[in-house]
């Protein structure tokens, strides 16, 4: 199993399935979400919903700072996280330090982290790998998209995603309703960011990136975004920002690099992101081998126990 198939499934840093487009292959595009300029306006959430005609996601006041969307799910494909912190925005305490000192007591700096989360469009995407129908597929732009005409709602991609991005829609179907004889009204399919696949096809940038007032969300060729992000990180470091780091920029990470990566100002888990995500199918060759061994053992064991020993 580790032979040809294993090689086929070896993480390479190049999105599998993408090369097959041949001449139809486009430059790989993605998002660079720079949280150091995010003003938490949520335009991305709304732009996404408007364009993709996503249903409402519930009107629940959470008490979690200004975030009432709470998470990425079937009905929110962009989600802005808000984290208030008693940490200064600048680490070196120079004159640029943000503080809300109230009485000359040295002051505790406050900062308010805001981050617009989205599907990572992984280079090696677990959701895409495990999808049994080919509903999830790698597009010619190197992105990962759920095809709504194919998805049968098996839900496998949901726990497969190391970021918790994919989610089944339990609301009534708004498009392609299930046939009446099933007696189900629920949409039942899995939905997530498509990186505005249809807009890309028309030569338009994704809705969220277009709307973003401060260009916290940048869209473009991934390679260019990575260069831009490196420069940005160096600039913030030089300016003394507290804790800047890129997340998902490196093609050598557990998912082969994100197609949509981030500049964060704190640990990923603070934003609800896994600190070291891996594509679990990375272990699949080993798992298949292991399973075949188990299956063999089952075959051998049952046979042996049947053959060796009496009928009684």
């Amino acid at each position: 199993m580790n032979g040809p198939l294993g090689a086929l499934m070896e993480p390479t840093g190049v999105p599998a399935g993408w090369e097959a487009y041949g001449d139809g292959k486009k430059e790989r595009v993605g998002f660079f979400t720079d949280t150091s300029v995010c003003i938490g306006c949520k335009a991305c959430e709304v732009a996404c919903k408007e364009w993709n005609v996503i249903p409402e996601d519930g009107r629940v006041w959470t008490g979690e700072s200004y975030d009432h969307t709470s998470q990425l799910d079937a009905n929110s494909w962009r989600h802005v996280a808000f984290v208030e912190q008693r940490k200064p925005l600048f680490a070196n305490g120079d004159s640029a330090e943000l503080d809300v000192d109230t009485g000359g007591d040295g002051g505790t700096g406050l900062r308010w982290l805001m981050e617009s989360d989205v599907c990572k469009h992984c280079t090696h995407a677990a959701c895409l790998d495990v999808c049994p129908t080919g509903s999830l597929f790698r597009t010619e732009f190197g992105t990962v998209v759920v095809q709504q005409d194919i998805c049968n709602g098996c839900g496998y991609c949901v726990p497969a995603c190391p970021f918790g991005v994919l989610d089944k829609r339990h609301l009534a179907a708004t498009t392609d309703p299930p046939p009446a004889f099933l007696g189900r009204k629920e949409d039942g399919r899995v939905w997530k960011c498509t990186l505005c696949y249809d807009r890309l096809k028309g030569g338009h940038e994704p809705a969220c990136a277009k709307a973003c007032p401060t260009k916290s969300i940048q869209f473009g060729p991934l390679e260019e975004l990575r260069e831009r992000a490196d420069a940005r990180l160096a600039k913030l470091d030089a300016e003394g920002w507290n804790g800047p780091r890129l997340y998902g920029r490196d093609p050598d990470d557990g998912v082969g690099g994100f197609g949509a990566f981030f500049l964060l100002l704190d640990e990923p888990e603070v934003y609800g992101l896994p600190p070291d995500p891996v594509v679990t199918t990375r272990d699949l060759p080993e798992m298949w081998t292991n399973m075949l061994a188990a299956a063999g053992a089952l075959l051998a064991g049952v046979t042996a126990l049947t053959l060796l020993g009496g009928r009684r």
């Binding site: 003003i39 959430e45 919903k49 409402e56 009432h68 208030e84 640029a96 809300v100 406050l110 805001m114």
Partner: protein, 897 residues
């Protein structure tokens, strides 16, 4: 705003949003720009990325603070102390831009000897009449000059109203182009510079820290940063919004910033200026072409009941001998021709005698009082929601219930239309549907996509929007409604012989219509606004072409040129990448004359050269003999920098070549405002109408001239400062908007995608306060004043901090967004129900950014228990106050010279 108007000549933002990218330092104060103007904020971020300092001074740590390089927390309502402190710091440490101050401001001007500062009058300027409760401004004047528009008419009881010199332009007319008495060395004890210096000398960093609750270091850092980023090579900008205006000292707060920016030499220059951030799509437009009681289009004053009974007086009094207001008559007559066409003639004084007259205050809050007193019978509301959006919502709802008839036009059924069956007062039993006599018409409105028209944005830019689809069913534009309403009324009164109908019969009211519903042609209206030569029908290219003989017609002189050459200039949509500079003059059309930075003559030095290469914008091209640059020069194109007006020069010709503020009578910006403001020539720190503190400077606690409703039962006030009973309302409350919602919520609570983003009314409190009163994060709180009580979810956050004031006293502040009401996809209590209706005297704006309240855990009482709860506390507070009533100085002190 009269603050900008009186300081610089026009009431609009002095700059445009894109120019903020050129700033070296941006102070955002009285504004939460990132949250409320997110897309405009991109230009602040551009500046930050280029290394600019971004300073946010605000009671709360907001999404703007999160983006700033420095946030300074101050007590709500202490802005003048902070800004005055900056002025003092600049003056005491010689950090001001000397040449700019000397040449371009009225710093050298000597003031009348009868003028007495607040420092002499314990918080009251000279001229205070306690009986009338207002100032006689005569002693504020320049030495040897008569204050225009005040003296002479006083016999008729004229009030010099800031509003009338208002948003657009200080009528300001002094009698001559050049002030007669000035000291170029700025040393004369009565020159503006010295008066200013003395006025603010007690605004030391320590005073600022104790009054505002910030640290000395933070304050000094702000001053130093501003000073380091102003001057020849660098410029700083101020951005403000209603965080400054919605105070009883709102106008004076902005005035203080105007003083700071003049001292720093930042007006009329790239990266400088004062950016007024308006909150509605066409709020600038609705003052330029006003739906306001006291002005006509282009800031022309409405005739007053107590003055100018004859046209000649009226014209004379409003015509400035110098500056562009010297052409007042042309503007007036052209407007009358636009209104009444051939019915307005020289012989009938252009129908002046028939025009309606106003009193000193016929503002919305005045109208509410009149409703409550039963004097107003009919009311039309179009695109506004006073039941939620105005201070003291309950008073408004009770007022609406006393009308005979009410017309509400909106996209959704707002609370102002539904109050009769679902207001809090119906819930409490104070109103009963079957007892409300008001006849109500709700008319569905057309949305912006369903009509042609222009909005004037925050930077004075008129932008045309085209109709995309037809409005459905009964939905109609306001253009349709008012046009057909007028047509019907005129039709019905066609044969009337009544004298009162003369004017309406004379009204020009013919506009072409189109489509099945007979929608009036918006461009035809814009053409009338632009104006044309009556004889030839040729469209005017600008207000210099207006005539005072009735040969031109113009609906709004400052907008003249918006349809120049018969082309809708406001509809220009040339992409910015096809334009030569970032100024992008071929995108839409800005008043005046398509200028983007006004007073831009000041971007050059007195000789006409740029102050520095880095800050080039508009300069004198000696070889061509004209002003040139990136923008349309805000100056007569060929007037050379060294031009000295001859003695007999009039109007614009009387402005010197080195004086950039062409709307001002003296061509200078005004550090000191001798006329045009109700409450003083210089801004002074006063406490908010409701505040837990006394004024640390004076025994005069609050703005003496603020408008109050002392005798109105529906508008009671909390005891304040050390008054007994004040302890029941010990906290400072400030109201605001969130990015996700718009004002009173009618346009956002009805939108599913927005409703879910901020689904419930909440309050922001500090953990210390939460502990003090037992509030639980995520639980409920009841917030109360003498007006009402509301409930809100509790967000315990350190973004709203307690401040340590003088003598170590701690003050807690409570933050309340005001978007919620009884209707919509999401509902909640309205923060404005808590607010009072005490107003700024110049512009009649309510003080919702700083007042006092109490807070306790849990939900508010329901039904009839609610008013009982409020009344019990109020009665307790008021009876305690009665035992030790205090006499406010404004009620007794007479400072008339």
């Amino acid at each position: 705003m009269p603050s900008l108007g009186t300081s610089f000549g026009r009431g609009g933002a002095t700059t445009f949003q894109q120019d903020l990218q050129n700033s070296d330092c941006i102070v955002i104060m009285g504004s939460n720009m990132a949250e409320n103007h997110p897309v405009g904020f991109q230009w602040v971020m551009e500046a930050r990325e280029r290394g600019a300092k971004v300073i946010h001074v605000d009671p709360r740590f907001t999404r703007t603070s999160a983006m700033a390089t420095k946030h300074v927390g101050i007590r709500a309502g202490s802005d003048i102390a902070f800004l005055g402190g900056i002025a003092n710091y600049l003056l005491q440490n010689d950090l001001y831009f000397r040449e700019y101050v000397e040449k371009y401001t009225n710093a050298p001007v000597i003031i009348d000897e009868h003028f007495a500062d607040t420092e002499a009058g314990d918080g009251i300027f000279s001229g205070w009449d306690p009986e009338a409760g207002r100032y006689d401004i005569e002693s504020w004047r320049y030495e040897g000059m008569e204050v225009h528009g005040a003296a002479g008419q006083r016999g008729e009881g004229f009030e010099p109203s800031g509003e009338q010199s208002g948003h657009g332009a200080a009528g300001g007319g002094l009698q001559h182009g050049e002030p007669p008495a000035e000291d170029p060395e700025l040393q004369h004890p009565r020159c503006v510079f010295q008066i200013l210096k003395r006025h603010y000398q007690r605004y030391t960093p320590e005073f600022v820290a104790e009054t505002c609750g910030c640290s000395v270091d933070d304050f000094v850092e702000v001053c130093e940063t501003l000073a380091a980023n102003s001057g020849r090579e660098r410029t700083s900008a101020f951005c403000y919004a209603v965080g400054w205006t919605q105070h009883t000292v709102g106008v004076q707060t902005i005035r203080t910033a105007a003083i700071v920016q003049q001292l720093l030499g930042n007006i009329g220059r790239p990266g400088g200026g004062i950016m007024a951030l308006r909150g509605h799509a066409s709020i600038q437009g609705s003052t330029d072409i006003p739906t306001l009681f006291n002005i006509l289009p282009g800031y022309l004053p409405m005739p007053h009941t107590l003055s100018y009974h004859k046209l000649k007086n009226f014209i004379d009094s409003n015509t400035s001998p110098t500056g562009w207001w010297g052409e007042f008559k042309s503007y007036w007559v052209s407007l009358m021709k636009a209104y009444f066409g051939e019915n307005a003639t020289e012989e009938n004084d252009w129908l002046f005698d028939e025009l309606p007259r106003i009193d000193s205050d016929n503002s919305a809050y005045f109208t509410v009082r009149q409703m409550l007193e039963g004097n107003v019978k009919g009311y039309i509301i179009a695109g506004e929601n006073p039941a939620v959006g105005h201070a003291n919502g309950k008073a408004h709802r009770l007022g609406l219930a006393k009308l005979d008839w009410l017309v509400v036009r909106d996209i959704v059924e707002i609370e102002s239309a539904s109050f009769w069956y679902d207001s809090p007062e119906v819930e409490s039993g104070e109103l009963k549907p079957e007892e409300i006599a008001t006849e109500i018409f709700f008319l569905p409105a057309a949305a912006h996509t369903e009509k042609d028209g222009s909005f004037t944005n925050t930077q004075r830019l008129l932008q045309w929007h085209w109709q995309a689809v037809e409005p459905k069913e009964d939905c109609r534009s306001e253009l349709w409604f008012y046009f057909h309403l007028g047509r019907l009324i005129k039709q019905k009164l066609e044969d009337s012989e009544e004298e009162r109908d003369t004017l309406i019969k004379a009204l020009r009211w013919e506009y072409p219509t189109h489509s099945a519903v007979q929608e009036p042609d918006a461009e035809a209206v814009l053409q009338e606004v632009n104006g044309w030569e009556i004889e030839s029908g040729k469209f005017l290219s600008g207000y210099p072409e207006l005539k005072d003989d009735g040969s031109t017609l113009c609906g709004c002189w400052i907008y003249s040129g918006c349809f120049a050459d018969g082309i809708n200039q406001t509809a220009r949509k040339k992409p910015h990448w096809e334009q030569e500079s970032y100024v992008a003059p071929e995108w839409a059309w800005a008043w005046p004359a398509n200028r983007r930075i006004i007073y831009n003559r000041a971007s050059a030095d007195p000789d006409g050269n740029p102050w520095s290469e880095r800050k080039r914008y508009v300069w004198w091209d000696g070889s061509e003999g004209k002003w040139t640059g990136l923008d349309v020069p805000d100056f007569k194109e060929d007037k050379e920098p060294h031009y000295v007006p001859p003695d007999d020069a009039k109007a614009e010709d009387a402005i010197a070549g080195a004086h950039p503020f062409v709307m001002q009578a003296d061509g200078r910006s005004w550090l000191y405002v001798p006329q045009g403001l109700e409450d003083g020539p210089l801004p002074t720190h006063y406490e908010p109408h409701e505040s837990p503190f006394d004024n640390p400077l004076y025994s005069q606690r609050a703005n003496p001239r603020r408008q109050q409703n002392k005798d109105l039962a529906e508008d009671p006030y909390n005891p304040v400062a050390d008054e007994p009973g004040a302890e029941l309302y010990p906290y400072v409350v400030t109201t605001y908007r969130l990015t996700e919602h718009h004002t009173a919520g009618g346009m956002t609570r009805s939108v599913p995608y927005l409703a879910e983003l901020q689904p419930a009314m909440f309050c922001e409190v500090h953990p210390d306060l939460a502990r003090e009163v037992g509030l639980e994060h995520g639980g409920w709180a009841t917030i109360y004043t003498t007006r009402s009580a509301i409930e809100a979810r509790v967000l315990v956050t350190e973004r709203v901090r307690p401040l340590t004031m003088k003598d170590g006293r701690t003050v807690h502040q409570i933050g309340l967004p005001y978007h919620w009401g009884k209707r919509g996809l999401i509902t909640g209590d309205s923060a404005n129900d808590l607010a009072h209706m005490a107003l700024d005297p110049n512009v009649h704006i309510q003080e919702v950014k700083a007042f006092t309240c109490g807070i306790r855990p849990g939900r508010r009482p329901r039904g009839p228990e609610l008013p009982r709860f409020v009344a019990e506390l109020r009665d307790q507070a008021h009876s305690r106050r009665e035992q030790e009533p205090r006499a406010e100085p404004e009620e007794v002190r007479d400072t008339t010279p």
